[in-house]
């Protein structure tokens, strides 16, 4: 017997390691591929180079003051199977209302006009052009598409919540527990999410792909939400922004938010 015990253990250990990692490496390198076929976008898809939304706050405020309107929130949360946990701690919201002072914090003053003082403003993901959430995500689970939409890949999200810390607008929610039991009437054409991942408004990317406008825009009876492509000089959003004064949330942070509020 030429091999002593220590060497035997070393050889066995290295051999096992080589065998196991060899197979793992082979699996990674020679991943099975689906038969190379064509993948393309839907024909009817809405195509844009830089999607953005304009909120006509005058119309929105008027509607809300008239009948406590929440149509955009209800539509969005219904279409996307957003759960309702019934408590603020676990709350998930994609689009919601808060007051002007809270949505645009440093733009009010002791003599703010009556129309804006305490007025309801909408909050949602701004789909920033320079998004800090995308910058910080360690797995690219939060990423920005070429058309500007900031999307989440829920399969890849590890739930570290760095994006939530990075977002200067508080647009993101986390699934602190399994959301499925709290989804009223889960729609079968759209998934829910699982516990442990972050979620937020996705600019209805799945509806755009089918040629439909975002659910909130469609649901707004006051026509206060206008959605369009900023790179198209003839789009409604471009024309409105050209003609009316608009503000954005926290512009000094350099995030280049793409939700414009007409005030």
């Amino acid at each position: 017997m030429g091999v002593n015990r220590r060497d035997f253990l070393k050889i066995t250990g290295l051999g096992t390691l080589a065998g196991v990692s060899g197979k793992a490496a082979a699996d990674l390198v020679f991943k099975g591929q689906a038969e190379a076929q064509e993948a393309k976008p839907r024909e009817e898809a809405l195509v844009g180079k830089r999607w953005a939304m304009v909120v006509d706050t005058k119309k929105c405020i008027e509607k809300i003051k008239k009948d406590g309107c929440k149509d955009c929130t209800i539509a969005c949360h219904a279409v996307h199977n957003v759960p309702d946990f019934g408590n603020p701690k676990d709350e998930i919201k994609w689009i919601w209302q808060d007051t002007f002072e809270h949505i645009c914090p440093n733009q009010h003053h002791p003599f703010t006009s009556e129309s804006l003082e305490g007025a309801p403003f909408l909050a949602l993901c701004n789909h920033c052009d320079n998004p800090p959430c995308v910058r910080v995500c360690p797995t690219k689970a939060t990423f920005q598409r070429e058309d500007g939409i900031v999307l989440m890949d829920f399969h890849r999200c590890i739930g570290c919540r760095f994006c939530m810390a990075g977002c200067p607008y508080g647009s993101r929610s986390f699934n602190w527990r399994d959301p499925r039991p709290f989804v009223q009437n889960a729609r079968e054409d759209f998934p829910t999410r699982m516990r442990g991942v972050v979620e937020k408004c996705n600019f209805c990317a799945e509806r755009l792909a089918e040629g439909k406008i975002p659910a909130c825009v469609e649901a707004c009876k006051a026509k206060a939400l206008i959605f369009g492509d900023l790179e198209d000089p003839h789009s409604e959003v471009r024309e409105i922004l050209h003609e009316h004064h608009s503000i954005r949330r926290k512009p000094e942070l350099g995030t280049m938010p793409q939700i414009y509020y007409l005030v």
């Binding site: 910080v136 797995t139 990075g166 607008y169 527990r177 972050v198």
Partner: protein, 385 residues
């Protein structure tokens, strides 16, 4: 050498048993969290990082303890630290292990953690944090183990270990810097958006790490036949003194910038922490305790008469440790989220399962520390014979 951890007296096994008990409870609570979700913690949409990340942030600093003994010894031939470099490195191993465990228990989808390696994202600070923490852990395991093994055999460490030792020095600085960058680069969190964040991290690290090392050295001297040496402890105490003074100085710089500029975004988090905001102030007693402990510590440490007295020194470094634990842990992390981006105050209180999981991870860290120190001390005791 691992067999040295298996032979011990009743007190040693008693300590192991207690630690295993604490760890067991933590593991059970973690299983609950794993299946229910992070909702069993007190975290919410507005305060999305809490106790776990606070511990991680603090422990990254304690892990610097290694470099504080390695640098003088290897770079400047400060022989006095020769006996305790291994202890510093083993404390670093235990701290970094706890850091990584705290991150793991904080993940919403922990089984997907390897996505960080499968989809590397160099623009994400968290990716780099993962890399530097792993690297630092491996460095300290390698250096500590080899050094100790050579001590056991009575030979000098091999030449090839030197480059690794030299590498570990800037690497230690990098783990703080990268962790500070997690916070300092976020545009919406005004408590964290300060250039001095990394410097504060290093200063508090060099205060908290050696403090714990001093305590451990005193414990080792009391319960074993290995004496780290009074001079080593005194030098560490001097390091803690200066580091703590600089740390408090840096903290006061934050106050100056916030309150002299009168910019609301800078002031509000500090006001919340130390005086309360809109009637909410659950952290106020903690922050003032931290301040009081810091003041006590500095008074006791600056005065050589009290610093040289090891009983008083013990009180002083414990004060440093707990003061920085509060200030760099919950104070920093929770304070960054309050007020939230919509200028609302939503508070955070950890829940019992959250606390038990935290204690469990601390238990694992102390178990690793106990085992490694047992090995190190036994080797040194035998080498001295």
């Amino acid at each position: 050498m691992i067999d040295k951890a298996l032979i011990g007296g009743r007190k040693y096994y008693g300590l192991i048993a207690v630690l295993l008990g604490v760890i067991g409870v933590g593991v059970l609570c973690y299983l609950w969290q794993f299946f229910y979700g992070l909702g069993i913690t007190g975290l919410s949409r507005d305060v999305s990082w809490g106790l776990y990340i606070a511990q991680f942030t603090f422990l990254v600093g304690v892990a610097a303890s290694a470099v504080m003994v390695v640098l003088p010894y290897y770079l400047h031939n400060y022989k006095v630290f020769g006996k305790i470099t291994v202890l510093g490195e083993f404390l670093a191993i235990s701290s970094v292990a706890m850091c990584m465990l705290f991150i793991f228990v904080d993940m919403g989808q922990p089984l997907r953690v390897l996505n960080v390696i499968l989809h590397p994202t160099p623009n994400s600070v968290m990716f780099w944090d993962f890399m530097v923490l792993t690297g630092y852990l491996l460095l300290n395991v390698l250096i500590g183990w080899i050094s100790l093994d050579c001590e056991r055999k009575g030979v000098a460490p091999p030449k090839w270990i030197k480059p690794f030792v030299y590498l570990s020095i800037p690497w230690a600085v990098s783990i703080h810097t990268v962790t500070a960058f997690l916070y300092a680069g976020l545009p919406g969190r005004h408590l964290w958006l300060t250039a001095i964040m990394a410097a504060r991290f290093i200063a508090s690290a060099f205060a908290s790490g050696p403090s714990l090392l001093i305590i451990l050295c005193l414990i080792v001297r009391r319960f074993t036949r290995f004496d780290p040496g009074k001079e080593a402890i005194q030098t560490l105490a001097k390091i803690v003194t200066y580091a703590m003074i600089i740390n408090i100085f840096f903290l006061s710089l934050e106050f100056f910038t916030a309150f002299y500029s009168q910019i609301p975004g800078h002031m509000h988090p500090l006001v919340y922490l130390y005086a309360g905001l809109e009637g909410h102030g659950v952290l106020i007693p903690w922050m003032w305790t931290s301040t009081a402990l810091a003041a006590l510590a500095i008074i006791l440490l600056v005065n050589p008469g009290t610093r040289n007295n090891e009983s008083i020194l013990t009180v002083a470094v414990l004060a440093v440790f707990f003061s920085t634990w509060i200030d760099k842990g919950m104070g920093l992390v929770v304070g960054g989220f309050i007020p939230n981006p919509l200028e609302r105050v939503v508070e955070y209180t950890p829940t019992l399962p959250e606390v038990l999981i935290t204690l469990g991870v601390w238990g694992i860290g102390f178990l690793i520390l106990t085992v490694l120190f047992k090995i190190a001390v036994t080797v040194k005791e035998e080498a001295a014979l």
